[in-house]
């Protein structure tokens, strides 16, 4: 096992397309690092450079203490799990698992021990003699994992390994992956475009956009303290709500005004992020997580409330998503546009439904399932104003975030 360090790594394809731009990332020994971002953000390219399948244009890649830029994949002591599994169709499960070990001239008895052990761990023992074509998608996926496990490598590299499974199986495999990592403790780099997968699997998550690293942090920190609009909008589902708001001083606290709503900015926030004071009297972009709303009628002692008219309600059993319009123009920022494009591309309807909303901002609130909200009805929404997110209107950076000071 080893740490993996990317030091100023660039990837420029012929034709001058820069897929990865000055990537600095340190993956510690035994860590589960998830690279996440919309399609085309360079996350797969980064992984393939670690694997040795793509040449590194510039910068240095360390596995352990050694620079491995010029080593072929087979000499990097890594194992990879591919999106389409890439099993050898002409070999049985057993031969698939043993192939890498045979090529490395490992003794027969040792190969058998490792294959049997991995098969037992993954529940593949009954299928060892079968060809991949005779396996279900989930079983193939496990064979692909097994092929990596038997190698006992320094690191696992996984390229969207769950994306071809159906939703239910994906949740199961996600849990098994977590268990597996607990058990083996091998350094793992995992690429996905699914932020839920990223949040549930990663010890830390690296968010990429257009080949540039946006933020690396624990899932909780990414959620609570996103560094910019892009990370804020990408992490979390339903996505964070954005609206342009004016910050006004109010004694030793402040208020935010947008449309016909006014939200107080607590004193604690201002002392925590003194730079917010520079924005008094100016427009900022306000971000509110759907989960920081709730139905005020269920919490009569809750502080601030907004009165809104529910357009659509999605009752999920454990919660209700209330979708409503705010009478303010949607946020115009290139990062918000990038998010909308990605969401539309992935078939997520929230952003794709935007044109219907006209010149309104569409908000989502996640409220308690016992709420009596009905489509078309009015609703008092309590807002947790300690959890508001403030972004600079021009740069899109979170105001007062430690990384932006």
């Amino acid at each position: 096992m080893a740490k993996i360090v990317l030091d100023g790594v660039d990837k420029v394809y012929s034709g001058g397309v820069k897929a990865v731009d000055d990537l600095n990332l340190e993956i510690t020994d035994g860590e589960f690092m998830v690279l996440v971002g919309p399609s085309g953000c360079g996350k797969s390219t980064a992984l393939r450079m670690i694997a040795g399948l793509e040449e590194i244009t510039d910068g240095e890649l360390f596995i352990g203490d050694q620079v491995v830029n010029d080593r072929p994949p087979k000499d990097r002591d890594i194992a990879m799990v591919f999106q389409n599994y890439a099993l050898y169709p002409h070999m049985s499960v057993e031969q698939n698992l043993a192939f890498g070990l045979k090529l490395r001239k490992i003794s027969k008895s040792e190969i058998k021990r490792r294959v049997d052990e991995a098969a037992a761990m993954l529940g593949l023992a009954p299928y060892l003699k079968r060809k991949p074509a005779a396996l279900s998608g989930g079983q193939r996926q496990r064979v692909a994992m097994g092929r990596a496990i038997v190698r006992e490598p320094q690191a696992f590299l996984m390229d969207e390994p769950l994306s071809n499974l159906d939703a239910k199986l994906r949740v199961q495999m996600r849990a098994s992956l977590n268990q597996l990592h607990e058990r083996l403790g091998v350094t793992t780099v995992y690429v996905t475009h699914d932020q839920v997968e990223a949040m549930t699997l990663g010890d830390r998550v690296a968010v990429l956009r257009d080949g540039r690293l946006q933020q690396v942090d624990t899932p909780k920190n990414l959620f609570d303290n996103p560094v910019n609009l892009f990370v804020a909008g990408f992490i979390g589902s339903p996505a964070m709500n954005f609206v342009g708001a004016e910050m006004q001083q109010d004694g030793d606290a402040a208020v935010l005004k947008f449309a016909d709503h006014t939200l107080p900015v607590p004193h604690a926030t201002l002392s925590e992020r003194p730079r917010l004071r520079d924005y008094f009297g100016r427009q900022i972009i306000l971000g509110i997580r759907p989960s920081d709303f709730d139905d005020a009628s269920l919490f009569p002692n809750g502080g601030t409330a907004m009165e809104v008219t529910a357009d659509i309600t999605e009752e999920l059993g454990t919660e209700i998503n209330v979708i409503f319009g705010i009478d303010a123009p949607p946020v115009q920022h290139e990062e918000a546009a990038a998010l909308a494009a990605d969401a539309a591309g992935d078939g997520e309807l929230e952003a794709a439904a935007m044109p219907l909303s006209g010149n309104k901002s569409v908000f989502t609130a996640r409220v308690n399932p016992r709420s009596n909200v009905r489509p078309g009805g009015t609703l008092e929404l309590a807002v947790d104003t300690t959890q508001l997110h403030y972004f600079d209107k021009e740069s899109g950076l979170a105001i007062g975030h430690p990384a932006n000071r």
């Binding site: 694997a51 087979k74 591919f82 169709p89 002409h90 890498g100 090529l103």
Partner: protein, 326 residues
């Protein structure tokens, strides 16, 4: 020789008559399909649409096969029954045994070498910069008729006496290397192998194109997985690529084998089957149409048919199985 449109008119007239007849048959069929019985309509439609093809098969294939088989048990004029004597002649006569040996040589060498050359070439040019040009170079002989190819190669093997200039490429090379020119096509058994080279030259392009497509159909991810598993280029080919394209390789082998068994034009054009280069198809032609030995010619034809049929059956089964797998 000028081109006179008037002298071509009768041909055009026949073309017109043929086209009109074709349309008439189609029209008649469609009318028949529409006015069939109300019960068992599916059966009626199938019968109508299949009947023209069935009729042509019957006249062009089934009847000749039966007729040839019958003739193979008759005498030279096809008049008297002679029992299996044509077959015993075939398997005892030294000249004919030589013909059978030659055909065996053809079948042993051509499919294996053409397929191998095609495969090696496909692997070598795969993803190189000039792949398209390189592939069309090897594929071009496919566009030449067997007779045309044979004439080209006859020039390559052409002999002129030592003191004169050589016009054959092979002899010129020999002379450059300080050797004496040879009468290549008289030199047995080398001459049969030299004829085999011609068919390999023609078929390698076909083998290359088909196998190249199969190689490209191997997913990149699998080759990448093999690289990460530690396979070098050689191991990637032998242990991953080749097993994956093996079904295609066997299809190519069988197709070329069938072509090789039936080879006639090359032998007929280059040596006429003389100098112990004859093969079954050529001998069949000679016996039946040059020596007037209808019975013996038919026996050879039946034997050739018996050799080809199993290969075709295997091929058909393979194709059906791949279709089911899809």
């Amino acid at each position: 020789m000028g081109f006179d449109i008037h002298s071509e008119l009768p041909k055009l007239l026949w073309l017109g008559i043929g086209t009109a007849a074709f349309l008439a048959v189609i029209g008649l069929l469609l009318v028949l399909v529409d006015h069939g019985p109300k019960s068992r309509r599916d059966w009626w439609q199938a019968a109508c649409f299949l009947s023209p093809a069935g009729l042509l098969l019957l006249v062009g294939l089934i009847y000749p096969v039966v007729r040839t088989t019958v003739l193979s048990f008759r005498d030279r004029a096809g008049a008297e029954w002679v029992g299996p004597s044509n077959y015993t002649w075939m398997f005892t006569q030294p000249e004919i045994l030589l013909v059978l040996r030659n055909t065996l040589l053809w079948v042993l060498f051509t499919p294996a070498l053409a397929t191998t050359i095609g495969l090696v070439y496909a692997v070598l040019v795969d993803r190189s910069r000039y792949e398209a040009v390189a592939k069309s170079l090897l594929f071009m002989p496919m566009a030449i008729s067997f007779v045309g190819a044979s004439i080209i190669w006859k020039f390559v093997y052409e002999y002129r006496p030592a003191e004169t200039d050589q016009i054959g490429l092979l002899n010129q090379i020999v002379v450059w290397l300080g050797g004496r020119p040879q009468q290549w096509l008289l030199d047995q058994p080398l001459n049969t192998l030299l004829l085999i080279v011609v068919l390999i030259w023609i078929q390698a392009g076909f083998a290359m194109v088909v196998q190249s497509a199969a190689i490209k159909a191997v997913p990149d991810e699998i080759i990448e997985a093999a690289r990460i598993d530690g396979a070098n280029g050689w191991q990637q080919f032998w242990r991953v690529t080749l097993p994956m394209i093996w079904p295609t390789v066997t299809v190519v082998l069988i197709t070329i084998s069938v072509q090789t068994l039936k080879v006639f034009d090359i032998v007929r054009t280059m040596t006429g089957g003389q100098f112990t280069t004859s093969v079954i198809a050529n001998e069949m032609y000679n016996q039946a149409f040059r020596y007037g030995e209808i019975g013996r010619g038919s026996a050879l034809a039946v034997f050739l048919f018996v050799l080809v049929v199993p290969l075709v059956l295997v091929q058909v089964r393979k194709i059906r199985r791949t279709r089911e797998a899809q």
